[in-house]
Amino acid sequence: MRRWVQPGTSVARPYWGEAIVSELHKRISSAFDVFDHESNHTVDVREIGTIIRSLGCFPTEAQLHDVIAEIEEEEPTGFIRFERFLPTMSRILLEHRFRPVPEDLLLQAFEVLDQQKRGHLDPEELTRYLTQEGEPFTQEEMEEMLSAAVDPDKNLIFYKDFVSVMTVDDPW
């Protein structure tokens, strides 16, 4: 765990103001509550990814698995308790881990896949890339993305439009 000690002091003082931390805890708690169906401070482990991402983080699947491994019980129950989730999630937010993907970087990623620089991609080629490489999409994920991304008249993905539509202002 990182120690937040200001250089030159002998007493370990929290670097972050108490008010900020308290506010953060409540934000985390609120997001957690959305999935706490039985109001007993636990959520299904399969929802953890959604909760972390909804708090503004962009972890990869691998990074997500690491976080879950850290907060699971010694004998995994399929549920994550809030007491274990809170400190880990607070650290993640305070350290700005799993930073957002900026829009221009995202656009570059699409351009890399668009080897012929046509300004668009075929559904088939995007499907191939995203279901076979990196951290592959499931069929359902791919279908859902295509339903939003493909221009129905031309059956092509104009990724520049797609990116700008999807990166609308995030209220959080």
């Binding site: 959305v34 039985e38 909760i51 995203l130 994920e141």
Partner: protein
């Protein structure tokens, strides 16, 4: 990682492409998660408001029952006006009637006629409705509380969940799965009515098939098969609107038919099917022996624990007041004579919960019977062990996997199928696969909110699920669009709740805002809203959608009322009074419908005044008598001493300003 990829793909995809793919995937998954949380809290909003409404309903039910039974004492008209028991045979159907005509006993021609007529938006004539209900009543009287079925080796049985007046969903099920018949048996697991606009049509179709195929069509009672629920959730209104002449009789007969519906169905002694669920007290043998016809579900509701003995006295009196014939083939007893409390007792009953002066004590057996049925119709499963009262709904229990396991094991069963809760996919499994929830009304909260589903069981009793979704638009909406539409609708409902409690909220906000800056912290805002509205919602997550932040990071609390305003301000009515009327609109509508026995749409100012006094006393709402009088008189537009209550209710609408802007631009 690159494992598992074939060689030609590696050749074609340099490292940069792999990185690009990961980036896109990472970003997209985060985008989907954002949508998912919006979808979830939208769901929470709808569900919270729905269940809070049901809770209100249950809490007010003793008041409504009281009104139903005793209202006429208010204007001194003597014993209740008896609804003419019109013989349906005497009703003449005019030649000009172009709707479906039924002939009893029913045949396949009749059910086909009904289906095509309803597809054409036709209405079945009141005569046939009454006749159908009479026949159904006769039939159901011989049915036991718990129906035992056996699956034959050839057939699958189809089980459907809540329909809530959505005819399109029922027709879609029949289209996909075939009509009920000897080869195609069905069980409908309750909640056929309320909320949707075609409840009576669904009832007619289900009862028609019930009479046509009594061995292959089965109906379980749901918590909405109850006349008090119907008052609030739309079925009563629908019947009165569609059947101006015979509506009252139809409703009276329906009330009886609903109470005769079986409570549970069991297949092969292995699968238990009930509408809600079970509790740790559920006893199938006891349930089988209960006189279901005599148990009045909401009337027996205990409103406060401390006054359990007193409120139960009131409820037994009210069930005595509504005499019901026994459903058993025992020598007929004359129905008990209606016992109307004297005018002095009357005022004490509904709202002074600790004082009741009615004679009959509650027999303990009735209380137990009532509880057995309420548990089965209202309970919800939960993931943790144990059994606790269902505070969310106000009735029944939350039952854990251990409760399920114990009950199923006790009776040698392997599966519990229930409905009662809307599920996004139309169905859900829990309790290690021992409980199935099946819900058949798609788009229940909002267009695109959820799928509907039905489940089929063959002789091996392995469930197969089938999903569908009724779609009004031809163009398929993307996930983003579906979520946005549902979210917008949920947020509007929430804003209306905020509006309805405006003065209380503002008073509480201002307590934190000592310097009158118009701002308080997010924390304070969330605390106030939660305690005033008493809705258990993730307020901080919702905050950006409901209220504005100032540049210093604090909440501008008045901005949550910005988007909503009263429809048409009435000059004599202060904003506070208007807010109170708005908050209790639904309840007032119910009360008006109860009072307006001849369904003229009018009540006298005197009736309005007295009703309001009773109601506000019950709620503990303090409203100046003079203010009520002034308001009543100002609503009496033609000055004839009576109020058109539809006009009255219209006066307390709200409008969403953004909607108005759209309408003006569009």
């Amino acid at each position: 990682s690159v494992t598992g990829t074939t060689l030609w793909v590696i050749e074609q995809m340099p490292v940069l492409s792999i990185k690009a793919a990961v980036l896109i995937q990472r970003w997209y998954r985060r985008y989907v998660a954002r949508l998912e949380i919006r979808r979830r809290y939208t769901w929470n909003i709808f569900q919270s408001i729905e269940y809070a409404g049901e809770q209100d309903q249950l809490q007010l039910s003793s008041f409504f029952s009281f009104m139903l039974d005793n209202f006429t004492q208010l204007n001194g008209n003597g014993p209740g006006i008896e609804v003419r028991q019109c013989k349906y045979e005497q009703i003449v159907v005019p030649d000009s009637y172009s709707g479906p005509r039924l002939s009893f006993p029913l045949s396949v021609t009749d059910t086909n006629t009904l289906l095509s007529a309803f597809k054409e938006q036709q209405t079945l004539h009141g005569k046939y409705v009454l006749q159908l209900l009479h026949e159904t009543q006769k039939f159901l009287k011989q049915m036991p509380n718990v129906i035992y079925l056996s699956s034959s080796y050839a057939k699958e049985i189809t089980i459907c969940g809540d329909l809530h007046g959505r005819l399109d969903d029922l027709l879609l099920i029949f289209y996909k799965n075939g009509l009920p018949s000897a080869e195609n048996p069905y069980i409908f697991n309750g909640d056929f009515v309320d909320r949707g606009k075609k409840s009576i049509e669904i009832i007619i179709i289900l009862f028609a098939f019930l009479l046509l195929y009594p061995d292959h069509m089965h109906l379980n009672r749901g918590n909405h098969e109850d006349h008090i629920m119907n008052l609030r959730y739309g079925f009563t209104k629908e019947v009165m609107q569609k059947y101006k002449t015979h509506g009252r009789e139809i409703l009276q007969l329906l009330q009886d038919v609903f109470s005769l519906l079986p409570i549970a169905t069991i297949i092969d002694n292995k699968v238990l099917i009930v509408h809600g669920g079970i509790s740790d007290k559920t006893d199938l043998y006891f349930l089988s022996s209960v006189e279901r016809h005599r148990v009045s579900l909401l009337k027996c509701r205990l409103t406060k624990q401390s006054s359990s003995s007193s409120s139960s006295s009131s409820s037994s009196a009210s069930s005595v007041c509504s005499p019901r014939a026994s459903c058993r083939a025992t020598p007929r007893h004359p129905p008990p004579s209606p016992r109307l409390p004297s005018p002095v007792d009357m005022l004490q009953v509904p709202f002074l919960d600790s004082i009741v002066s009615l004679a009959l004590p509650e027999p303990p057996k009735e209380e137990l019977e009532w509880r057995q049925i309420v548990d089965v119709l209202w309970s919800d499963p939960k993931n943790q062990n144990g059994c606790s009262p269902n505070s969310f709904r106000g009735g029944g229990c939350y039952f854990g996997p251990d409760v399920t396991q114990r009950l199923l094991k006790k009776h040698g069963m392997c599966l519990l199928i229930r409905s009662h809760e809307c599920k996004q996919e139309g169905y859900e499994l829990c309790h290690n696969g021992q409980v199935i929830t099946i819900f058949s009304a798609s788009n229940y909260y909002e267009e695109g909110s959820n799928r509907g589903a039905y489940v089929k069981l063959g002789p091996e009793l392995i469930p197969r699920f089938f999903q569908y979704q009724v779609s009004r638009s031809t163009r398929k909406l993307t996930l983003q669009q579906r979520v946005s539409v549902a979210e917008s609708s949920a947020l509007k409902a929430l804003q209306e709740k905020l509006f309805a409690h405006r003065s209380e909220l503002m008073a509480a906000f201002q307590q934190y805002d000592i310097n009158n800056t118009g701002r308080i912290s997010t924390n304070e805002w969330a605390q106030v809203v939660e305690s005033v509205l008493r809705l258990d919602l993730p307020w901080r997550t919702l905050r950006p959608r409901l209220v504005r932040l100032a540049s210093d990071g604090n909440v501008e609390y008045e901005s949550c009322f910005e988007n909503i305003s009263a429809g048409q301000p009435i000059p004599q009515v202060t904003p506070n009074l208007a807010e109170t009327m708005y908050r209790y609109r639904t309840d007032l509508e119910i009360i008006f419908n109860i009072i307006d026995k001849d369904h003229s749409g009018q009540i006298s100012i005197e009736e309005f005044r007295q009703t309001w006094k009773l109601f506000s006393s019950h709620l503990g709402v303090d409203v100046d008598d003079q203010a009520i009088d002034d308001m009543a008189r100002s609503i009496d537009f033609n000055k004839d001493g009576s109020i058109d209550f539809n006009e009255f209710l219209e006066a307390f609408r709200v409008v969403h300003k953004l909607d108005m802007k759209e309408q003006q631009q569009g």
